[in-house]
């Protein structure tokens, strides 16, 4: 009995948290390795279409993105699908100069390997996509990738 009483006196003992930093660092390293930096803030709503035969896009530095979808702020921008390049809305006519600029920013040796990833909402009409494809052909950016999620069977 006496022993219990002794324990109660020490009730304010400190919790040993010396391993907490280790755990948090472990998590930190996991996220540093497994994730990549966000490129842009999304201004359009995109629910990727599904496909089974998808391949991974290899080098992120070689990829430029074109986003197509309904604006997030539909009260201000309406519900018609819009194209987003970098951090702003754009039209089909802007794509050519965007691609040229992206190409300019790349290393000379990487330019032929440039890939354009079209990230479009599943419900977008093909007319928009066809226009984008024509613009890309004009800009000589022929390597494209239709972004899609891997479908779960």
């Amino acid at each position: 009995m006496a022993k219990f009483k002794k324990g109660k006196k020490n009730a304010q003992q400190k919790l040993n948290t010396s391993s907490l930093p280790d755990i948090v660092f472990m998590l930190l390293f996991f996220f540093m390795v497994a994730t990549s930096m966000k490129e842009v803030t999304m201004m359009v709503k995109i629910k990727s279409p599904e496909a089974t035969e998808v391949t991974k896009l290899e080098q992120k530095s070689l990829v430029s993105y074109i986003y197509v979808g309904k604006p997030l702020n539909s009260r201000k921008f309406g519900s018609e699908p819009r194209i987003q390049l970098n951090d702003s809305y754009a039209t089909v006519d802007d794509i050519e100069s965007y691609i040229l600029q992206e190409r300019e920013n790349m290393k000379e040796s990487d330019r032929p390997k440039m890939t354009v990833s079209i990230k479009a909402d599943y419900d977008v009409q093909m007319g928009t996509i066809t226009d984008i494809k024509q613009a890309l052909r004009k800009a000589q950016a022929l390597k494209i990738s239709y972004s899609a999620r891997k479908a779960v069977k």
């Binding site: 948090v24 996220f31 930096m37 004009k138």
Partner: protein, 190 residues
């Protein structure tokens, strides 16, 4: 003297620092690796140049997609789920039928002479088609090619296509080159 405990380093703020970094990385990064269907667009043709050389009817596999997302394959209404088998039959032409593409004996490294089909898949879509439906069609066509390549890899190299070396994959690609042609967008008047 020696029984004196070693003083502990106060590491309580280390956790705070680590948490701060962790939260920064959670917010500023994204998890998703981008996946998609890779395609090559055809280079633009100058206006004065007329259409490509004519291709024989039997060598073309027409796939049409309308604004209601319905498929017309070689003049028949078809469901997307049947497209893959149809495409496979067209590309491989196993029974050497008259209405399916011609083959040409070609020298392929590692495999030897192989009758390579001259078939081209032509895909045309309406401006009103849904993107998902279009991608599904692209996906099924890709699946047809992938399965054929895989089958050939199993016969010739006794392993799946994904396990083949680059040279072997190139050889298989020569046998089954991916020929999906998309028609130039046309303007139809209403």
């Amino acid at each position: 003297m020696s029984k004196k405990e070693t003083p502990e380093l106060n590491a309580s703020s280390l956790a705070d620092i680590a948490f701060l970094l962790l939260i920064f990385f959670l917010v500023a990064t994204t998890m998703s690796t981008d996946t998609g269907l890779a395609r090559m667009l055809p280079p633009i043709v100058p206006n004065n140049q007329d259409d490509a050389p004519p291709i024989k009817e039997r060598n073309v596999f027409t796939v049409l997609l309308n604004f209601r997302n319905q498929l017309l394959v070689e003049g028949e209404w078809v469901d997307v789920s049947e497209l893959k088998e149809k495409a496979k039959e067209f590309i491989a032409n196993p029974a050497d039928k008259d209405n399916l593409p011609e083959k040409q004996e070609t020298d392929v490294p590692l495999i030897g002479t192989y009758p390579v089909s001259k078939g081209v898949i032509s895909l045309q879509n309406d401006r009103g088609s849904q993107y998902q439906a279009y991608l599904q069609v692209q996906n099924e066509l890709q699946a047809a090619y992938n399965e054929l390549r895989d089958e050939l890899a199993k016969i010739k190299f006794h392993k799946s296509y994904a396990d083949c070396s680059d040279a072997e994959q190139d050889a298989i690609k020569k046998v089954y080159p991916q020929r999906i042609s998309e028609a130039e967008p046309k303007n139809y008047k209403k």
